[in-house]
Symmetry: C2
Subunit: 218 residues, 2 copies
C-alpha cells in the first residue's frame, strides 16, 4: 500500500521513463514534483525498498515491472476521473486536473472498475490521453504533432501535449477542441508557425501551440 506521496513520485518517474532512455535523474524528478533533490533521494530509497524502482547511487532511477503496473493503475484512475468530471459533471477540460490529482489516490479497485463501466469504458481522457484498462494495457492511437504535418492535408485534433489550463483556455478561445478538423495550409519556415483552414477561416498557430497539439491525418 503506497502513500499519496509515493504514488506521486512513481507517476512522475513513469512519465519521465516514457521519454527518457536511460535512468531518470534525481534532478529531473525534483523539478517535476517541485521539490528538492534531497527529498527525492529520500523517496527513492522508499520506492526502491518497495521494489517499484531500481537505483544505484549517483546513477539514475529505473522503473520495475511492478512499478510500471502500479503507475499505470494510478494513471488509469486519474484519467477515468477526468472523464467523469467532464462527461458527467460538466467540468471543462481545463478544470479537471487538480481534482483528478486528488481522486487518483482513492484506493478501491471495485470503485475504479465500476467507474470505468459507468463511463462506458472510455479509451481516452478529455485531453486525448489513453486510459489503461484494468489489466494495464494502453490503447494505441495514431497521432502526430501539428508541427510534423504536411501542407494541404486534412487533420483532426486528437490530443494535447501541454494540459495546462492556460493552453487549454487558449484553444477554447480559438474554438479548437478534440475532434476539430482542419486543413494545414502552410508551415512558415521563419517562425515555424502553422496556418490552418479551420471553420472557413485561416488561423495561424504559433510554433509553441503547434508543438503541443496532437493531430491525426483524415
Amino acid at each position: 500500500m503506497l502513500t499519496h506521496s509515493e504514488e506521486n513520485y512513481l507517476k512522475v518517474i513513469y512519465h519521465l521513463s516514457q521519454t527518457e532512455d536511460g535512468g531518470i535523474s534525481t534532478n529531473a524528478i525534483a523539478q517535476k514534483i517541485d521539490t528538492k533533490a534531497s527529498s527525492v533521494t529520500d523517496m527513492i530509497k522508499k520506492l526502491k525498498e518497495k521494489k517499484l524502482i531500481t537505483h544505484q547511487k549517483y546513477q539514475g532511477v529505473f522503473i520495475t515491472a511492478l512499478g510500471l503496473q502500479t503507475a499505470k493503475m494510478i494513471i488509469r484512475k486519474h484519467r477515468l476521473w477526468e472523464v467523469f468530471l467532464v462527461d458527467k459533471l460538466n467540468f471543462n477540460w481545463d478544470e479537471v486536473h487538480d481534482v483528478a490529482e486528488e481522486l487518483e489516490h482513492i484506493k478501491s479497485e471495485k470503485l475504479i472498475n465500476a467507474l470505468d463501466a459507468f463511463l462506458g469504458y472510455p479509451k481516452e481522457d478529455p485531453h486525448g490521453d489513453p486510459i489503461p484498462n484494468a489489466k494495464g494495457e494502453i490503447p494505441y492511437r495514431e497521432k502526430e504533432l501539428l508541427t510534423e504535418t504536411e501542407e494541404n492535408n486534412n487533420y483532426m485534433c486528437v490530443g494535447v501535449k501541454d494540459t495546462s489550463a492556460a493552453f487549454l483556455q487558449y484553444l477554447d478561445r480559438q474554438k479548437i477542441a478534440l475532434g476539430s478538423t482542419f486543413m494545414v495550409l502552410k508551415h512558415e519556415n521563419f517562425d515555424h508557425s502553422v496556418t490552418i483552414l479551420f471553420q472557413e477561416n485561416e488561423l495561424t498557430l504559433s510554433k509553441v501551440v503547434a508543438h503541443n497539439l496532437f493531430v491525426k491525418k483524415i
Copy 2:
C-alpha cells in the same frame, strides 16, 4: 484548510455533539477514532487553534459555529458520495462506507455541488441519513426507532442507526430495505423483540435489530 485527520476528528466531535449534551470528553473521541487519549489531546489543540472547537483543560470539547458548518460540509460530501456509489456505480449499501470515508476528503466545492446536481439533489444517503445542502441545512424527516412503535400500526423503514456491514447484510438477508413497509404485531416484554408482518410473513426482530431500525408511521 484542514488535514484528513483534522477532518476526521471534527466529524466525530460533530456526531458526538448530536447526542451528548455537555462537552465531548477526550476519551469519547479517542474511542470513536480508535486512538489514544493523548493523541486526542494533541488534536484538540490544533482544532482549537483553528477555532473549530472550544476547550479548557480537563473540561470537554464544544464545537463552534465554524466547526459545525465545516463538519456539515464533510458529512455532506460523505453522504453524496455514498449516493453516487449506490445509485450510479451499483454498490450495495454495506460497501460504501470505507470508500466514502476517503472520498469525503476531496477538496473542491465545485465538485461536490456538481455531484449534488448530477445526483438530483438527494435528501438522504443510502442508509436514510439526511444530506446537508450547500448551505449546511439538514432536511428533517420524521422517524422513530422500531422499538418505540405501537402495535397494529403500519410503518415504513426509513433508516438505520447502525450502518455496519454486518447489520446491513443481516437486513439484506431478511429482505428489509429502505422503503419496506410492514405492520407491527407485537412488542415482546420479555426480551423486547418485535414481531412484524412483512411480505405476508411474521418476522421477529431482536431488540438489537429493532433498536437500530428507523421507521415512520404510514
